[in-house]
């Protein structure tokens, strides 16, 4: 029992590793912020393109969404970081992660937004247009607020996925939370930093997961 605690819950080692892990956590949050903000914006644009009456635009958007939803994110990341240099494109680990996960994530967000917009009855747009609102105004004030509300749990779920996804960045030696924890483990020959990192992930993700569960139960009741 004692060795178990010494190996996994060693408080001395945890407190030693804490500053490094905190730095890693900050990097993780920075990655998440960039990927989520860009992913949301890109996803919305893609969703609108995928619903556009313009055939070329619509099909390019659908092709993009399908392609990057099908490709495993780790494959994308390794390709962007280690494959692109063969074409003379050398990216920092941070940029490589942002680009790879943006490609992956914007396509997921696009699919969510598309479903949300599709679920808003056509009569809403027609009523808005009939009162003289432009297409853009109808979208901004009438359709999108309802669309976002329709898919809020999915948007949140996707956000949780992004946070988890960023741990893959450790394969390109980006010192985010998991990478930092693993480094601390190898230096201290002790698993406690990994447990601490897991705790930090939980701290951020558990409340989000709770909110989603609540929301979904709420929807089920209504």
């Amino acid at each position: 029992m004692d060795t178990f605690i010494q190996t996994f819950f060693n408080l001395d080692i945890m407190s030693q590793a804490f500053p490094l892990l905190l730095k890693g956590a900050v990097m993780t949050l920075k990655l998440c912020a960039v990927v989520i903000v860009c992913g949301l914006a890109g996803g919305l644009m893609l969703a609108l393109a995928a619903l556009s009456p313009n055939r070329a635009l619509r099909w390019s958007a659908i092709a993009y969404i399908d392609l990057f939803r099908a490709l495993p994110p780790l494959v994308l990341l390794v390709f962007v970081y280690s494959g692109l240099p063969f074409a003379g494109v050398r990216l920092s680990p941070f940029m490589a992660v942002v680009i790879a996960f943006f490609l992956n994530n914007s396509s997921y967000f696009a699919e969510v937004f598309r479903a949300g917009i599709n679920a808003v009855p056509k009569g809403q747009t027609e009523a808005a247009r009939a009162t003289g609102l432009s297409q853009a105004q109808a979208l901004t004030y009438v359709v999108l607020p309802q669309a976002v509300r329709n898919v809020l749990p999915d948007l949140l779920s996707n956000t949780v996925e992004v946070v988890k996804l960023t741990s893959l960045a450790s394969v390109v030696s980006l010192s985010e939370l998991l990478y930092s924890a693993n480094m601390a483990r190898s230096v201290t020959y002790n698993a406690s930093p990994l447990v601490l990192a897991a705790g930090m992930y939980l701290l951020v993700l558990w409340p989000l997961v709770r909110v989603i569960a609540r929301y979904q139960r709420g929807l089920a009741v209504n």
Partner: protein, 256 residues
């Protein structure tokens, strides 16, 4: 006496969806202050005709004039300005569910008509008062009955000071006991001199309130006249058949 102004004129209107010719040639005039009623069997193109009048649907050919302006060939970028002159009320109300009643009536005033907020709010309250729902200004649409929702939808259209109001079966989605309140609002509107084109199956209301009744079938206006002429003395066989079928349905509905 001054010549009454023509508020809405439809001339040689045709509309096809793919190979299906829904409107073959529609001619119709609505004078200022008139309430014109449109009846006809399901699928005869009544909704399509109304939707052409604010170009929610693009006519295949023909011309439509709103207050003398030919709206069938104005460019798309001017559509929004034109639509302010044409109020439309739908069968399904289509209130914005995420906004309060007051906000529903204010939105287009602010965003399309560019009214200042206090003015838009005052106007919204005035219109809500006119439909008897001022006390519901802060309610959400889902908290209202269907009849109340439809009256808010009417207020939303009226707040933009349209010259013509189009109604597409405004009471068809309502429980029978809620129909009266909406019809009363429409009658008040008519008494205030609003020009209205109404598609509806409320024959009793047509008898009481319509200046003229138009019977559409097969993509044409088959017959038109005063309510007495249309209901009391129908000329075409198609109108006779339609009226007898409707009165049977009415009798059937009442027997339920």
């Amino acid at each position: 006496m001054t010549q009454p102004r023509t508020m809405l004129e439809i001339s040689g209107l045709e509309k096809s969806f793919g190979d299906i010719e829904v409107l073959k040639s529609i001619d119709l005039k609505v004078q200022e202050g008139e309430l014109v009623f449109v009846i006809g069997p399901s699928g005869s193109g009544k909704s399509t005709m109304l939707r052409c009048c604010n170009r929610l649907e693009e006519p295949t050919s023909g011309a439509i004039f709103i207050e003398g302006e030919r709206i069938t060939d104005i460019p798309r970028r001017d559509l929004d300005r034109m639509r302010l002159k044409v109020g439309m009320v739908f069968q399904g109300f289509h209130l914005y569910p995420h906004m309060s009643v007051l906000k529903n009536v204010m939105l287009a005033q602010i965003k399309a008509l560019k009214r200042a907020k206090p003015e838009a709010e005052a106007r919204a309250l005035e219109m809500l008062d006119q439909v008897g729902l001022k006390h519901k200004a802060d309610a959400m649409p889902a908290e209202l009955s269907g009849g109340q929702q439809q009256r808010v939808a009417i207020a939303r259209a009226l707040a933009l000071d349209p010259g013509v109001m189009l109604f597409d079966e405004p009471t068809s989605a309502l429980d029978p006991e809620l129909v009266g309140s909406v019809l009363k609002v429409m009658k008040d509107l008519r008494d205030k001199g609003m020009t209205m084109l109404v598609v509806s199956h409320e024959m009793q209301f047509a008898r009481e309130a319509a200046d003229r009744v138009i019977f559409m079938d097969g993509g044409y206006v088959v017959e038109q006249g005063t309510p007495e002429e249309i209901f009391g003395n129908p000329k075409s066989d198609r109108l006779k058949t339609f009226l007898s079928r409707v009165s049977h349905e009415d009798a059937g509905a009442e027997a339920d």
